[in-house]
């Protein structure tokens, strides 16, 4: 196995391990009610917004060729995903209609304290780390959503199934979750290709792993926080 193959194997194990963590188990263990589902969908839109912040910062710090790859990536997210006919934030808002949410619910949504702390932490990694660290930190969240890598399905797929099983809303109707099941598979593969080009030494590997560890830690804290807040809603 070469350096990058080994590295990618480690990253794959890390994204799979997320789902065995106490925080992920807590999150998935909270039964969905319609109110909890609304809370989740609004929070997911804010998470999407935070992703846009972080990818912008990563673009700022990355080499020119990588900037171009990120710019293309952000086309789906910010401007128009041909799979959905709209950008991903609009897609999340549109998805909200299925469970009775209005655009104002997203516009005036409050970010709960523990969630805010996670958003700041992701910003920090994206803005202040070495570019490979920052890049990996953002990439890992899409890798964790890639059903080809995560056994049992990525995050969007599993949440979609939860909506289906617990609320009777089919995944096809949860248009944002449905699109992300496919989009993040493609995104994580395109972005992953850059490792082949830029990871050449043990030091590069460590930078990648640092970003992966940091982002997965924040991700667990974030999912744990969502689980906590959802459990408060009756």
């Amino acid at each position: 196995m070469n350096l990058v193959q080994d590295l990618c194997g480690t990253l794959d194990k890390m994204v799979n391990d997320q789902f065995d963590s106490v925080e992920f188990k807590t999150f998935f263990g909270v039964p969905l009610t319609m109110e909890r589902a609304r809370f989740y969908v609004v929070q997911n839109a804010l998470y999407t917004s935070n992703r846009r912040d972080c990818w912008g910062y990563v673009q700022g710090g990355a080499p020119l060729e990588v900037k171009r790859v990120i710019w293309e990536h952000e086309s789906d997210e910010l401007i128009n995903d041909p799979r959905a006919g709209m950008d991903h934030f609009s897609l999340t808002v549109k998805q909200g209609e299925v469970i009775g949410l209005k655009p104002e619910d997203f516009e005036y949504a409050e970010v709960p304290a523990m969630v805010q702390a996670c958003f700041h932490a992701w910003h920090h990694v994206a803005m202040h780390g070495h570019w490979l660290t920052a890049y990996t930190a953002s990439h890992m969240l899409e890798r964790r959503n890639n059903g080809k890598i995560v056994k049992g399905g990525g995050m969007s797929f599993r949440v979609g199934k939860k909506f289906e099983n617990e609320l009777g809303i089919s995944l096809k109707k949860m248009i944002s979750l449905d699109v992300h099941v496919v989009a993040d598979t493609e995104h994580s593969e395109n972005i992953s290709e850059m490792f082949e080009r830029y990871v050449k030494s043990a030091e590069d590997c460590e930078r990648v792993l640092e970003g992966a560890r940091d982002s997965m830690t924040i991700d667990r804290a974030y999912r744990g926080a969502l689980g906590y807040y959802m459990a408060q809603i009756h």
Binding site: G60, L64, A126, M127
Partner: protein, 240 residues
């Protein structure tokens, strides 16, 4: 119809920004740079360092895109299409490719752009601009946008920086503007890009504190710009 107080304040801010851009050209650093005779060697080194400047702009706009609201992110993404990707439907290359292609007219190979080191003073200025691009978002966007306003022939009375450098290349080296594909592109594009800041300010800078933030970011960026141009002038003076 009478203008509201908020609109008047915005117009006043805009006028101040335009005046700041015009004043750049009266600074000793700009006068020194634009007063030099450009030999082929000087033009080559200027061209290479400007490619690094363009790369730094891409860094800064990326950071700015990270911190701004979603609708402004979309504006910046489109802005970066011209710069990073180009407009394939119009047969236009990205701006780094343009800089390298323009270098061919000056006798530069693509490797010369890879192998020539960044000017030390330039590196310091690039770090300062990056730092500025990580400030509060209105300051950050103003810091990047003001450099395009300073390059807009519509706003700068005796011609933008790209236009003036283009004229020097024509005068001293006999290279017509149309062959300076990078300079020529910026003469056009930065007129278009220069209006983005006001577009954003109309929505997000109706309060005086926000307008002060924009002015602060713009002024600090122009300060770095003056220092940078001074370093470029030093470099050119050291070359035959």
């Amino acid at each position: 119809m009478a203008m509201s107080a908020g609109t008047k304040a915005l117009e006043k801010m805009w006028e101040e920004l335009v005046e700041l851009c015009n004043s750049q050209f009266d600074s000793p650093q700009f006068k020194r740079l634009l007063g030099l005779k450009f030999t082929k060697q000087r033009a080559q080194h200027y061209s290479i360092q400007m490619a690094y400047y363009v790369q730094n702009r891409r860094d800064c706009w990326g950071y700015v895109q990270g911190s701004v609201p979603l609708d402004v992110k979309q504006l910046i993404w489109r802005h970066e299409e011209d710069e990073l990707i180009g407009r394939k439907d119009q047969g236009k290359a990205d701006h780094i490719t343009l800089a390298v292609k323009e270098g061919e007219v000056l006798g530069l190979s693509a490797e010369a752009f890879d192998k020539t080191v960044r000017l030390e003073g330039g590196e310091v200025c690039f770090s300062a601009w990056i730092r500025l691009s990580q400030r509060s978002w209105l300051e950050a966007i103003a810091a990047s946008a003001i450099l395009e306003m300073r390059n807009s022939g519509e706003l700068v009375r005796a011609g933008s920086l790209s236009r003036r450098i283009g004229a020097i290349f024509e005068r001293d080296l006999g290279i017509p503007m149309k062959k300076q594909i990078n300079n020529a592109e910026h003469v056009v594009m930065d007129v278009e890009h220069a209006h983005m800041l006001m577009q954003v300010a109309r929505k997000y800078a109706t309060m005086e504190t926000a307008q002060r933030g924009i002015l602060r970011g713009a002024k600090e960026s122009l300060l770095i710009d003056r220092v940078y141009r001074g370093h470029l002038a030093d470099m050119l003076e050291s070359l035959a």
